[in-house]
């Protein structure tokens, strides 16, 4: 949420909130805190690179010292943070706009500042930010947060040359590298799957180095802000929108504030709910606004939401990444949507793949992603995990195929997480039924694949046997004819089987 987005945020009282809710935000213990810090910084970097329209290069370094003190450094080649934004972007706990209007990695806008705050309270050290935009040569800042007033304290700020545009953030915190090592690696590996155009490196204590992602050079198109879908119109949204332009007449207000609501639809809708299209929006009382909101949410003739605010991984990129990272055979891709839940556009996509790298089990192993972020925990509460168990996999999956995995990606301008830890998606019935369809489609593809494989195996055996018999025929015919030469039959047999051997 660095950069231009800061105008959409307003401050809240962060200290109390943070102390009470640190487990909710993922800072419950040193193991979790280290992982969450890496995660928030990496997601921040990837969002920034997305805006810069570059192939992201994100380098993560973790240095542990004296047992539980770790320094996490995350460096990117994103937009860089303009000087004037640095204090607020890193030194003020911000509350994000609830009505985010396009797909983003974070939802609350808390991310980085929570990590800064955690580092500050657990080790007493400031966050160090080295950033360069297109307009300057680079500066380094040390930033604290004044918890009482929720305002940034810039301890130092010096010009420091930086070769390339981008940002490096260092946070020193109380963390447990030994315990969170596995999950940090897994998180970055899977991030390389869902953001396959990003190249991510990880260095642990200068002894271990990993590289993830970099599977494609294609930068996905940037999801664009879009007007809310009318089904998302709750009272607060209506009041906010109304407050912006109180003088608009109702008809113009609707057309200008929502997607899937053109002049014709607005006319029909207002006629249907018997509201005066010429009334100014500011003149409506709370009751009338509530009636308007309810009607917008219930009216069933609005079009399906536009998908331009969403950024699915897509078949080709997903396939590439899974193939390369897991040495897998990808079986199929399936996508549902764009659809909307409570007015929020969403797309569900999934890939089914086979590899020895995947756990062998009766049901496929599940890799979950939401808005390109891997979800590693709380899978028992997750709608994708729960729904997976409802599919009769025995019907689709022959026992000889083991090591099957499904990768699911839920993208939406709003993800219905079941908790603020953002690790599991809650069951929304319309979403659940789409997931079921997605799984079934993938299951059918698996079935088709395994049957094709069986057929191919069968036809290879058939070819071998046919070739043996035909060569005997040639041999015996030569004997009967009294000829010593046995003619070569391979060309004839290959031609005969050409169609079959392609299976």
């Amino acid at each position: 949420m660095t950069g231009s987005a800061s105008g959409n945020f307003r401050g809240i009282s962060p200290a109390e909130f943070f102390y009470r809710n640190r487990q909710m935000a993922g800072f419950e213990n040193p193991t979790q805190s280290l992982y969450t810090t890496v995660r928030e910084l990496v997601e921040n970097s990837l969002d920034s690179c997305e805006e810069a329209r570059v192939l992201p290069t994100v380098d993560v370094t973790i240095q542990s010292e004296l047992g539980r003190t770790c320094t996490v450094s995350v460096s990117d080649n994103g937009t860089g943070v303009p000087d004037e934004n640095v204090p607020n972007a890193f030194g003020k706990v911000l509350y994000g706009n609830k009505y985010s209007s396009r797909q983003r990695r974070g939802t609350f806008g808390l991310g980085v500042t929570m990590a800064v705050l955690y580092g500050q309270i657990s080790t007493g050290t400031p966050a160090v930010i080295h950033t360069k935009t297109a307009q300057n040569e680079g500066n380094e800042y040390s930033v604290y947060i004044d918890i009482e007033s929720n305002s940034p304290i810039v301890k130092s700020s010096n010009p420091l040359k930086r070769k390339e545009r981008g940002t490096t953030v260092h946070i020193t915190l109380n963390g447990d590298l030994k315990r969170s090592r596995e999950r940090v690696i897994e998180y970055l590996r899977l991030t390389g799957i869902s953001t396959p155009h990003a190249r991510i490196t990880l260095s642990l204590d200068d002894t271990e180095r990993y590289t993830f992602g970099g599977f494609t050079k294609k930068i996905p198109s940037l999801p664009v802000d879009s007007l809310p879908h009318p089904h998302a119109a709750d009272l607060e949204l209506i009041r906010r929108l109304a407050a912006k332009n109180p003088d608009l007449r109702l008809h113009e207000f609707l057309v200008g504030s929502f997607q899937q609501l053109g002049h014709k639809t607005a006319e029909k809708f207002l006629n249907f709910i018997r509201m005066d299209p010429r009334a100014t929006i500011g003149s409506l009382d709370r009751e009338a606004l509530s009636y308007l909101g309810n009607s917008l949410r219930k009216y069933d003739k609005f079009g399906k939401p536009s998908a331009t605010c969403l950024s699915p991984v897509g078949k080709e990129s997903f396939f590439n990444a899974i193939r390369k990272e897991f040495n897998a055979t990808v079986i199929g891709y399936s996508q549902r949507g764009p659809l909307e839940w409570d007015g929020f556009p969403y797309i569900v996509e999934g890939v089914l793949a086979i590899s020895d790298a995947f756990e062998q089990s009766d049901i496929p192993h599940l890799f979950r992603f939401a808005n390109r972020v891997p979800l590693l925990y709380d899978s028992t509460d997750d709608v994708f995990a729960k729904t997976l168990k409802r599919i009769p996999w025995a019907r689709y999956k022959p026992p000889e195929i083991s090591g099957v995995a499904i990768f699911t990606h839920f993208c939406s301008i709003r993800v219905p997480y079941s908790a603020a830890g953002k690790q599991s998606i809650t069951s929304v019935s319309s979403i659940t039924s789409e997931i079921l369809s997605l799984y079934r489609e993938l299951g059918r593809k698996l079935k088709v694949f395994s049957e094709g494989k069986k057929r191919a195996l069968h036809s290879r055996r058939k070819l071998k046997e046919f070739s043996r018999l035909f060569n005997l025929l040639a041999k015996f015919s030569s004997e009967v004819a009294g000829v010593d030469n046995i003619p070569d039959t391979s060309r004839m047999i290959n031609e005969l089987f050409e169609v079959d051997s392609d299976v």
Binding site: L469, L473, F476, S477, A481, V483
Partner: protein
Amino acid sequence: MSDMSDPIKSLTELGKKILSSIEDGHFPRIEIPARSTENIVFDEQTEQFILGDSRTTRDSSNSKHIRSFMQLMWIASFSKRLLESGRTSSLRDLYYSSEAFGVRFKDQAESDRLLSDLEALIEYPRESLGFFPEEHSSIYGKVIMRYTVKGYEDKEVDLTISPDGLPIGPALLSASPVRTDAKLILAVESGGMFSRLIETRCWERFDCILVHLGGQAPRSTRRLMRRLHDELHLPVKIFTDGDPWGMHIARVIIAGSANAAHIRDLAIPTAEWIGVNADDIVRYNLPCEDMNNRDLKRLDELSKDSRYLSDDWQSAIESFRRLRKKAEQQAFSRFGIDFVVDEYLPTKIQ
């Protein structure tokens, strides 16, 4: 007997035809006269069963045909080797030999069937291709035969040489009749009756050559009888048990079998069945048994068989049906051991 070099020529032609097709890049196909019961018709003229016009195709590009096509050619190559080295093989030997060549038949019925295909394809009987069935029947009588087999060339044999009769094998089948004092060929179903007729010197009394059929006559036996019949101009009489099975043994010798309808020169249309029929059972008051369901069912089948359409045969069947009794050849023993020779046969042969 046809000249043994002819089948070799036919086999070689077949091999060359298939080979040149492969060399031209075409999957060879062959057409074999269909040997299904639908394609077997009774030829009124020769009074024997022959194959109709329908043919089955074996296409080597068809994965369902390639195995049997290959097996057929293996049999052809095996046959050629037999003929070139002057050897013979039993059908059982043929079946077992296949293993060594990677051919492998499901069972002997399969190799037998494919051999029949080869017979139909090149129009030579299996005996000409070097194959002989296992079951050996025997012959006894005043005939001089001259061997043609290797090591016995031009040796002559008197068929009375052994009191047990001589087995009818490949050597005898390829021998040529030289001369005979006999006036008749008498074929009998059971071994017991055959021995009795030799002991009682029946062959002298009736001037006959005795042939032991041993149930349904092997093709080689039928072939030898036909040959003696043709070349020595001897009439053939057939003496069997008094039941539908015995009657059919006689009928096959006379009119041919469905199984070997693709083979010519096996039937002896002028041969005559001299019982035991239903009337004999009554007339001689022979010890008999009741017919069982199988016997009665067989009578039903035969009554519809095109070989039994004539009035004589229909009435023979009808008599058995009315009587519902059957009797063996040996039943005559109740009247004393020589009764058959003294009473029955003189009446029947006249």
